[in-house]
Symmetry: C2
Subunit: 310 residues, 2 copies
């Protein structure tokens, strides 16, 4: 069953699952991931509580290490480059252009690029990134021991990270644009029970101020329209995610939010081009749903190759 390699672009849970399944089906598969370590966004949370197999939870970095071990044990090659563009040149050949000007060719390509953090797009955000503005609690939490911080966001990531940050920061102001939370109720209850956390419902950040490092954040209550300026030492942004399909936008259709439209086999509109994990249009983005996509697409490719041999 030798063919040219099947390329998986992105080494998060979806990409790793696809790689492991394809390799176990004995196909030649390679993962293209610019980061030195596989795992993608999985690496960020201090604890993952909703992946079955780890009842007391598992640290994101530790889980990413396990994913790396799966890939290493199966001797799946990793191309540590960034993809700049993917084109289809005829019915059966994709060209994958890399940052280092190399070009790979393959018959099957899986896009597992995941999502990026959604920026707030407010004054001061870019300017103070790395100087008090952060998108990673695990990385930067310890820098804010006994300090006052703002956390922006109302999703599960924002809540999980707020809990984690509360073990360092003296005071946390959590800003949520809605008037209630829609995620895991267990998380919401924990957050509400911690005295050092103040929740600001119906509130959005307007500007981040600094002087060498972050000094304050201006926010608005969207019901009363009142504007407040709050002294803080840091701002953690967990305001959701956005997909980036620039490298493959001629190959796919996207939904109204920009996610790649796929069928039940994770095929896009271009034959041989699959989208798996968070970048695909779907109802629930979790580790287990990403891995599901990887396994399903791998199985579909396997049967496609088997059938082409008959």
């Amino acid at each position: 069953m030798k063919n040219e390699p099947i390329y998986i672009i992105g080494g998060g849970p979806a990409g790793v699952a696809a790689a492991v399944y394809l390799k176990r089906f004995s196909h030649d598969v390679q993962v293209i991931e610019p980061n030195p370590m596989l795992g993608g966004q999985v690496m960020i949370p201090h604890i993952i509580e909703n992946y079955l197999g780890f009842p007391t939870g598992i640290n994101g970095f530790e889980f990413a290490s396990i994913l790396n071990q799966h890939v290493t044990d199966l001797q799946i090659p990793i191309v540590h480059q960034k993809v700049t563009e993917i084109k289809k040149i005829d019915d059966h050949v994709f060209l994958i252009h890399l940052d280092n000007d190399e070009t790979l060719t393959g018959k099957y390509v899986l896009c597992a690029l995941g999502t990026k953090n959604r920026p707030l797009d407010i004054p001061g955000e870019k300017e103070w990134t790395g100087k008090g503005v952060s998108t990673c609690g695990t990385c930067d939490g310890p820098l804010f021991k006994n300090k006052t911080i703002a956390v922006v966001g109302g999703g599960d990531t924002a809540l999980t990270e707020t809990l984690f940050l509360s073990t360092y920061a003296q005071t946390i102001h959590l800003f949520h644009r809605r008037d209630s939370f829609r995620g895991f109720d267990s998380l919401v209850k924990k957050i509400q029970s911690i005295p050092s956390i103040t929740i600001h419902y119906s509130s959005i950040p307007v500007e981040i101020h600094g002087n060498n490092t972050v000094t304050a954040m201006t926010y608005q209550n969207i019901e009363t329209h009142q504007i407040f300026k709050l002294p803080v030492n840091g701002v953690f942004v967990f305001a959701g995610y956005i997909p980036d399909t620039t490298i493959c936008n001629t190959l796919v259709d996207v939904d109204e939010k920009g996610y790649i439209i796929v069928n039940a086999q994770n095929e896009t509109k271009t034959q041989g081009f699959y989208a798996i994990g968070d970048i695909s249009s779907k109802s629930l983005r979790q580790i287990v749903t990403a891995m599901n996509d990887g396994a399903v697409a791998a199985n579909h490719i396997h049967h496609d190759i088997l059938n082409s041999l008959v």
Copy 2:
């Protein structure tokens, strides 16, 4: 967010995933599972190699124990009864009849019954079950130390169990009705490399013979039509799976193989009635795809309840 309980029928990976997600969303959820231990078919394989998180594999029973711990830690109640029938009595109420004549009522029901082993339906199979005919390598393998056994089946389960049984049996005859294997190539290669395993391609069992215990199996080569009688001490049957939708057949449509037809949210044709995991119509039946279904259905129910409160 208090309602009557959401009932999950079946405690395999799909059911456990749905239970964990629903409970973490703070819904009242109960799992209905007649067996004393949750896990379903997960319990059977001696090693699970394709669930990410365990690079060196994990024993099925051990993995089932972990699933049980998830459910215990979240204090999710388990009803240890068999469901005999499910009916919908009006737009919002399901009646779930149990073996002990009790009836439960709920607005949401998830069917996670999985599949049963497909019997060979040949003379001697029923008669010698438990006396040499088995469907569980882990349970009965040690009884065949240094003996000769037949294994029937060509799927991943058959191959995995054959490998395991080869650590006990002196000689294994593996019977596969096709002329090649279509599953994990890594497994096929391992099987082919073990001298004590003889593979009989294009061959089907015809009759199992015994005298107190199994003594022989008759089989036919379906290409040459020749019939052979082979002395064996045991027959392990891994001839695939069949869904059993008897308890809910008025509520669902099924595909040509009898699996329950669902949409992308795992809803059946009956509002409030979901099918998740192996019993649902899908392209790939794996632990991770079953858990995906459980998470997706749980998320859909959660949003359905949230929206009904607005």
